[in-house]
């Protein structure tokens, strides 16, 4: 069972990664429509129609959004910004969690207990609820750039949990004979952590980066469902009326801002970005799971 599962997880993860890579490369090799190009009317079967246009109609492979913008192009271009945000937050969180976990694992005492306590305390609420509470509340007080605040809060909310994982791994590694030998010969704490502990746990940390990326992308999608987006909406004037549309292509924004359209029969507008984001989350989760059991055997 385990061998079957591991290979399948890794294989599926790698297939999805290849697809993701293709998505990132496509804009460089294919001539795609501008993802911000509006088309408010189109002739279909001799009649003028308003967007959103259905998939396959008028050359729109995946249909269009409410502004007549090509959904396929928006999803392809949206991959860059979504992944950039997800990976940046995940890597940033890991980079902060490593020293925090290593030092609290080494010094234990109050420092170690503080990391464990904050991690438990933050675990007293589901991450989505906690992130939403903080973002909604803090934006009134902190006058910072929204993207910075958004990324910063997501980064910090998951930081104690990851630091606690590193702390536990560090404590486990510190009991190994080679570390005890290093302590006995008088190596400094920094040297022990850098040369004897970090190399042992770096595999787990690499896996964590993949798992954290999946986690961050998942939160981006879930936050979008509650109208909390990384980037903003834009309004355009069409004749007498104004239409509010999602702005720059980003998967979370595209699925969250258009989620109610599914009830109005225009299912493709939120569903395709959701599929893109969902499969990317699955890709990183499968990669983390596959690598963990294949190489780390935990």
């Amino acid at each position: 069972m385990s061998r079957l599962r591991l290979n399948t997880s890794l294989t599926l993860g790698l297939i999805l990664s290849a697809l993701l890579l293709v998505t990132l490369v496509v804009p460089f090799v294919m001539d795609l429509p501008d993802p911000m190009d509006l088309k408010m009317t189109m002739e279909v079967d001799g009649a003028l129609k308003k967007p959103p246009y259905a998939p396959g109609v008028g050359g729109y492979l995946l249909g269009s959004d409410q502004g007549g913008r090509d959904l396929f192009a928006r999803i392809i271009y949206g991959a860059r910004s979504t992944l950039l945000l997800g990976v940046t937050v995940a890597v940033g969180r890991t980079l902060l969690a490593i020293p925090l976990g290593l030092l609290s694992g080494w010094y234990r005492g109050l420092f170690g207990r503080a990391v464990a306590a904050v991690s438990t305390g933050m675990g007293a609420l589901p991450t989505l609820v906690l992130t939403t509470f903080i973002l909604w509340s803090v934006q009134r007080v902190v006058r910072a750039d929204w993207l910075l605040l958004y990324g910063g809060v997501i980064l910090l909310v998951g930081l104690p949990r990851l630091a606690e994982q590193v702390r536990l791994l560090t404590e486990e590694t510190l009991t190994m004979p080679h570390v005890e030998a290093a302590v006995a010969v008088g190596a400094t704490p920094l040297r022990i952590l850098r040369k004897h502990v970090l190399p042992i746990i770096r595999g787990d940390i690499l896996v964590s980066v993949a798992a954290e990326t999946a986690w961050v992308l998942m939160i981006i999608g879930q936050l979008a469902i509650f109208n909390i987006f990384a980037s903003g909406m834009t309004s355009i004037q069409v004749g007498e009326r104004w239409i509010i549309l999602d702005g720059q292509p980003e998967w979370g924004l595209m699925l969250g801002a258009n989620r109610d359209l599914i009830r109005g029969q225009h299912w493709w507008v939120p569903v395709f970005p959701a599929i893109a984001l969902g499969l990317t989350v699955a890709c990183f989760q499968l990669l983390a799971e596959g690598v963990r059991v294949r190489w780390l055997r935990r």
Binding site: A124, P270, G278
Partner: protein, 332 residues
Amino acid sequence: MYGLQGVIRLWVSRVVWFLVVAVLAVMLIHLRAAYVWEERPIKDQRGMTRIVEMPVFSWEEYRRVVKAYPGDLFAGNLYYRTNPRNEGTRFSEILREAWWNSFRLFVAAAGIGVAAGVLVGTLVGLRSLLPRVLALILSIGGLSLPDFLVVFIGQAVTIWTYRVYDWKPWLIISEPSLPKGWILPLGVLILPPLGFAARLTASAMDDIMRLDYIRTARSKGLHEVRVVLGHALRNAIPRILSGLPTLLNVVLSSMIVVERLTAWPGMAFWLMGESYQSTYSGPDGIVKAVVGVTPQLIATAGILFIAWFLLLDGLAHTVRILFSVRFEEVKR
């Protein structure tokens, strides 16, 4: 004895955490209520200065609303209003109904998901290919696919079947009073515990089925089903229970998203709701009031949710502690 000590320590820490987190959550949520409307000059796109009324955060107002909240909460003076002229509905009544709806969904999803997951995982012990593949698909699908994607696909499927066959296998918007209204939210929420329990059980069964006592049981001529259910599954239970806290956490988190997307009348609306400024003409002229899901209501729903979350987490850990102690005693 050790088990009892562990349980007492666990519950004391849970109570302390509840108090700390509840106070912090109330203080955090009230930041949203602490603003006053002030006229501020702003420059528009043409460079013209205009006087616009804007919400400005005020520490004085913050202290006032935070101080007033416990009194309102304990006196039951919290009301849900959509219009400032109406008296509104007492929030405790609304919250009770919302919690009951969420609780029913949660219990059904966790119960069915865990039971089905353990069943699928146990079948792995029978060493045939089909249960293995099934457990694999469920564990990958249930744990890797995000909840919002499964809901969207479920909604898209029902739209498609309605268009093509004039038939709805389930409702897009959930309705607790109709069986069809349960299918989509319950189906989506069952997936994570099902996948998680199937994976835990399958991996435990995989290890246990290789042990000597299983070989002995087989050599004595016991039927394979009895070996799996009577010997292997019994000893796999502590490992399954060790994943219970994570499992409940996953279901509760997903529940918020599923409730929102399927419009289930549960806690999510109150936890993640939004308030808005409403104006009306009163006897004293134009009056402004904050109505809708105000920060006070969100804080109250938040306290209930934290209590529920910690209670379930504590119960899951208690079961795990008691079972692992019993398991150790049996082993000795």
